[in-house]
Symmetry: C2
Subunit: 113 residues, 2 copies
Amino acid sequence: MAITPKKKRPAGEPCCEPVVYPEVERQEAQRMATIAKALGDPVRLTLVDVLRKHAGKVCVCELVPLFDLSQPTLSHHLKKLRDAGIVDSERRGLWAYYYVEPEAMEELSAWLG
Amino acid sequence: MAITPKKKRPAGEPCCEPVVYPEVERQEAQRMATIAKALGDPVRLTLVDVLRKHAGKVCVCELVPLFDLSQPTLSHHLKKLRDAGIVDSERRGLWAYYYVEPEAMEELSAWLG
DNA sequence: GCTATCAATGGACAGACGTCAATGGAACTG
DNA sequence: CAGTTCCATTGACGTCTGTCCATTGATAGC
């Protein structure tokens, strides 16, 4: 079988220096991507912006009319944000109040530089 | 038909103050979401990280072996990053060199706070 | 108890997304 | 010119995602 190696570069010089990417940075990139993905939707990013501008004072029933979406859909988005650690919620009686948990966004902001 | 309005809140007090979200901020959120979405994939975020740490010196043939993916798939991710204005490329002979166009990421970083 | 309200959950569906194999196109070599 | 190398594009495929509707859970007031 012995396939003859065909490593013929157009010029003698290599295209660029070899690139290494350590495992540690890979894992951090993975985590940052998770946060970015949760924020990578117009509805969710808007939700986060609304929440951080009305710290601790916004209940879901006030969020729903801001969008042209059903209440279950918004609930799903809020759940995604919660799963990503970007927001959290607190129940008071019938209502659920959401607020931003700033660590995740700060992390991403710092990573972006 | 005249459905009788059933606006009975559990308590007299409203759940929270009414929330407004201006159109201008909506549009900015939309743009930020586009950037975040492009970054919301582990492969793409890793690509960006590799590129910014080897400014202007990385050709595609060096990027491919960093991932367990086919060359067309990587090309597809690079295109997405280019479409989002996060990276750009330059051709030198056979090779294509990619580099980070930092404005978009800086914008998002600033927005995140 | 019963009823009303707010929020979360489950199921279903169309569309978007990530991936690959095959192909195409541009540029260099001999 | 033909052959090679590198990169982009196309088409196809399965999976994930966003959305809705209907329902359930939880809490409050009657």
